[in-house]
Symmetry: C2
Subunit: 425 residues, 2 copies
């Protein structure tokens, strides 16, 4: 069967998902992986740790899809019943799996803990299963073919904790599922800053509506939109020939907001540009409280471009640690373009970096020094300019504080990216 | 009908969820809200922007549940077809909704943009719907009662973007659904640090297995476990009488790892304790790159306890900005308990805070200065002690760097919390 005729379905098992304390990141990770290897995905379902509802949901999924991928319920506790239920539906017995028994023992030895009696339940596997080793926990995964009514169908079981599920998916399950594919999906991800999703969709309406290979799909997060352009490429066919014309058309329509292709996010684009140009950057943060530094240093390799950042919440700290003058603070206040520029300049001068960026503002929840929630200044200083931008970040969301901090940090990173583009060391 | 006999179901619509570029945070937020008001939830489903599959999934959901809550597909673009499809299934026409037309116009005025022609499509509503205003975007939500085959059933439609969906849910939909309830759910959340989920579950096995009111359910994230103890309380009944004995039993079995009840997370517990004791804290971070400061300052009110933090990535910056001695760095290296302690001490002395905490280590992806990935030292300094803890953070996950940073930051926050508990100003 051709890969693009195989339909998969995701079935996540876990009462914690239905209680809402856990966000289902596994479903997204699996969906992304399936798209990459060209399997179709039309449904994704969550049920609790309830054998009867799991059985019903599994049978519905098996009736619609060739491969059902489950997560969760492989743990050591009494309510982890996924493996037992699925084996029963597929007509497979559970048998002790020696290699898994050794893995579990070895895992506990490595982390220096003693296995509980329950852990050996995790080493029971459906007969004839392909077993996937768990490098980050105790529950192995597996792929099991159905029998009888479900002959020709297959269930892949993954553990629930994302840091066990995702590596197992990437390292073992996707290669296992991909074996035998005759097409592949190739994507380019275009990152935009400063334009809303509906505005972008309006500009690209015809393209998004009519283009089928490649497809063009938007994804947004606060302050940013990403367009994923995806081509289905046959053996020997060139992905570029399909992708290039569409990317060029998007560039013509919305190039002014495009900040990078396949760059991942603002901080990665910035760090890679700084590395390429051998430039360095320093941060001075007030209301973002370290978020700009944290986003920059989340990028591997950041240590070559970033070595200096301060979090200066109070006026006193802005003065003492950073050296912003008392006069600037008294005359204009902590939340002002003048203070933002002074913070950026002092960060650059004290650190010896090429670029200094700063954020000062009121992230809420209460107005402060007469400045409304959402008023933020982003400052930048380099050898050719000192600048500050004023933001009014409107939100009524319950996580307004985090939203304001994220939006302000994004603006600072984008300002640094645009500035670094025009600089030469 | 009693609230605890009402069954709800979540149906999320969006091809972006099936492509995996968007994590379904809405489903978790809705599930949490439904649990709080005591509705039962057994299924949650995702389908793409495909009218036929949406219709099928909706009919299945309506056959199982009294209330179906949908997210997504209310946007302005051509593939946003949720409202049209649902109205059709429920036997309702779409009619222009004057108030929504005014909201859309007003929203665009406020953000200073011009509506596209598509935006007026968003102001069409099913007849007799209860409409929910969107304070964070252009798509109103609504609740619509079914007719004919689906009489007595109800569909609630929410917009897809989380920052539109979640506030609408909290502020409008939950109060709307709760009207007329005769029981409520009351939860206590117990937060543990330093014990694994399976170990905790093993200690509390009988309790978790047998207790039905309250229920006891575990949720884990890296390095932490939270137990939610939830009682269903009738009018006039005391929640404490149900919850207190179970919480006491948990305390007896696992009290040594319990760091707080209803505290939310480590940083909130820390900030609230520091506020209560009028203590202050300062940070000096190397491999966590601002994450500790960012987590502390994410808590409203943090400005009273935290005003000073530095990110010192290189040895030079540790020396110049912080004042760690060249001798310490030369003799022991940047990743050493001595440097961690010196960083914490210098942070405390320079800032004048009561507690200084530090993190230095190798978050990867490559070994550095001969120190393996995952070796981290957390330092703390206060007027009665200076200490450093050595961590070996094992991970083979593809996001290993972020995992190591999160685990190291959590340990620093927990160390500060434990220290602050024993301090008096």
């Amino acid at each position: 069967m051709k890969q693009n005729q195989i339909t998969a379905e995701i079935l996540c098992v876990g009462t914690e998902l239905l209680m809402g304390n856990t966000v289902n990141t596994n479903a997204a990770a699996i969906a992304r992986g399936l798209a990459e290897i060209g399997l179709n995905l039309y449904h994704q379902t969550v049920v609790g740790d309830n054998p009867e509802r799991l059985r019903e949901a599994l049978e519905l999924a098996l009736s619609r899809a060739d491969v059902v991928i489950t997560t969760g319920g492989l743990g050591p506790t009494y309510d982890d019943l996924t493996k037992e239920t699925i084996a029963q539906v597929l007509g497979r017995r559970l048998v002790p799996h020696e290699e898994s028994q050794r893995w579990v023992a070895e895992y506990f030895r490595r982390i220096g803990r003693t296995p509980c009696p329950n852990n050996q339940k995790q080493a029971m596997m459906p007969e004839e299963a392909v077993v996937f080793q768990n490098h980050n926990g105790t529950a192995p995964g597996c792929a099991v073919a159905g029998t009888g009514r479900w002959a020709g169908k297959q269930v892949v079981m993954l553990p629930g904790p994302p840091r066990e599920c995702e590596p197992m998916l990437r390292e073992q399950v996707l290669p296992y599922l991909q074996a035998g594919s005759d097409t592949r999906l190739v994507s380019r991800c275009l990152y935009f800053y400063g334009i809303g999703e509906s505005d972008l969709a309006h500009r690209l309406d015809r393209l998004m509506r009519e283009s089928t290979n490649p497809t063009v799909a938007p994804y947004c997060k606060p302050g940013e939109v990403m367009l994923r352009v995806t081509a289905r490429v046959a053996e020997g066919q060139s992905a570029g020939a399909l992708l290039d014309p569409v990317v060029e058309e998007i560039r013509r329509e919305a190039g002014e907001w495009l900040y990078g292709i396949n760059v991942g996010n603002l901080q990665t684009a910035l760090v890679h540009l700084l590395l390429a140009k051998e430039l360095t950057i320093a941060t001075a943060e007030s209301c973002t409280g370290g978020l700009v530094a944290q986003r920059i240093t989340s990028v591997p390799g950041a240590s070559s471009v970033f070595e200096w950042g301060v979090v200066t919440y109070s006026c006193e700290t802005k003065r003492k640690l950073l050296g912003v003058s008392q006069k600037t603070l008294d005359t204009y206040g902590a939340v002002s373009p003048q203070t933002a520029m002074a913070m950026a300049r002092r960060a650059r001068v004290k650190s010896g970096a090429d670029i200094g960026i700063s954020v000062t503002g009121n992230a809420g929840p209460e107005p402060s020094e007469g400045k409304p929630v959402g008023l933020v200044y982003v400052g930048l200083d380099c050898d050719r300019c000192t600048t500050a931008q004023e933001l009014h970040i409107q939100t009524m969301a319950h996580d307004g504080r985090e939203y304001i901090r994220e939006m302000a940090a994004s603006r600072a990173l984008h300002l640094a990216l645009e500035t670094a583009r025009q600089m030469v060391k």
